[in-house]
Amino acid sequence: MNSSATTSVSQLLRDAGFFSDLDDADLAKVAGIAAVEDRAAGEVIFKEGGRNNNLYFVIAGAAALEMHVPRRGTTRILTVGPGQLLAWSALLGDATMTATAVSQQDLQMVAIPADDLKTLCDSDHDIGYSVMQQTAKSLSRRLLATRLQLLDLFTETDSTKYDG
């Protein structure tokens, strides 16, 4: 990738809030192995159970995550937007996707091949630490959000005797 394209990828990542702890030089190394991807609404980015080797950083737009349960059908479980990650299993798992991702609106993402990112992280541990921190923080926010969904806070409780 030429240097001006790298700069614009760096800027997109910075503006979306990713890698705030990396200096410009290190961020440029990450941007150097990344590419901007645009998807129109309704495009499938990856399928549940399928293999996908890219880690995606959402810059603009939204993607819906869906999971399929036999007899119940396909259920949308989460909408992912700017500042969030898609396909973390590519980096942390075995690249088998745990959900299907479909773009909701026109979607802009920065895609990074997971193998290239792992190689970069192995060779430069400062970058590796930052990438892992970034991923961990993203996942911990996702976990809290999932727990809040699980708590089903809006369910009406059954009331028996008293006023209210």
Binding site: G73, T79, G81, L148, D152, L153, T157, D163, G164
Partner: protein
């Protein structure tokens, strides 16, 4: 509005007579009751966030937020979810039935502090009705305020309230984003908890942004944590709490939350005032 039927300080147990003028079913188990005053009592002068005690003789009272336009106190919509004895009986009453009303009670959303600022309203489920009066007041004076956003989360798409008003509100300058916790086929909108909407909302001037939130306490807590992470100072958050109401006038003791009487110091409270008590279990 000629005469105002607000609760008398020295005679706070006297209920006014109101009639159910219209019942609007909203979502399963939830309906909006428009109440009007009998005779020439006029109406109620109320602030956004306040509530009334609706009285069904022989059954009891329930505390319900006023969810209408404060500029028109002669028609008082109350969006009510059937939960206990009183609301179950209320749900059986026909249009034209008479009930009692005491109020308005409680503290209010400080719309007067919003002039020149950006305002974020975050509502969860049945937490939108107590915020609707704020929307009416903000939009009535739209030019006085900066960005206005409503972030609204509900359990499922078919439990979203007031959706028929969203287009009008958007056209008058309220940005609205909606999300649901879980969905079924046919929903093409956002899925996930409402905190995610707040994580991604543009907040260009956090110091000058006020946030009002109403919904389950756990939801409000995480909304406020997210708002902190976006740079809003704790003095800029206001939340509406609920407790067992019996007298609504600060004299029966039921509604206490730490040192606060939710009926008179609340229900709308500034976060930093109650922050030490929010995470104490069984307080």
């Amino acid at each position: 509005m000629n005469r105002v039927a607000n609760c008398n300080r020295s005679d706070p147990w006297l209920a006014h007579t109101v009639r159910i003028d219209r019942v609007t079913p909203e979502i399963p188990g939830v309906a909006t009751y428009d109440l009007i005053f009998e005779g020439d009592a006029g109406g109620l002068s109320f602030q956004p966030g306040q509530f009334n005690m609706l009285y069904l003789p022989g059954v009891g009272e329930c505390a319900i937020s006023i969810s209408g336009d404060p500029a028109d106190g002669s028609r008082l919509p109350h969006t009510i979810r059937v939960a206990g004895n009183v609301t179950q009986e209320l749900a059986r009453l026909p249009v034209g039935a008479t009930i009692g009303l005491r109020g308005p009670f409680g503290s209010h959303w400080p719309v007067e502090e919003c002039a020149g600022k950006d305002v974020i309203l975050v509502a969860g489920g049945i937490g939108l009705p107590p915020l609707r009066p704020v929307i009416y007041r903000l939009l009535a004076g739209r030019a006085q305020y900066g960005r206005l956003s409503l972030l609204y989360g509900s359990r499922t798409p078919d439990t979203l309230l007031y959706t028929d008003q969203f287009d009008e509100w958007r056209s008058r300058g309220l940005d609205i984003e909606v999300t649901v916790d879980r969905t079924n086929d046919g929903w093409n909108g956002h899925v996930g908890v409402v905190t995610l909407l707040l994580e991604r909302l543009a907040v260009p001037r956090p110091e000058n942004t006020l946030l009002f939130t109403c919904g389950p306490e756990v939801m409000m807590w995480y909304v406020l944590q997210t708002a902190r992470s976006r740079g809003l100072p704790a003095e800029n958050f206001w939340m509406s709490l609920e407790r067992n109401m019996n007298c609504a006038i600060g004299l029966c003791g039921h509604c206490q939350f730490g040192p606060e009487f939710i009926c008179k110091d609340g229900p709308v409270l500034r976060f930093d005032r109650i922050a030490p008590f929010l995470k104490v279990e069984q307080l």
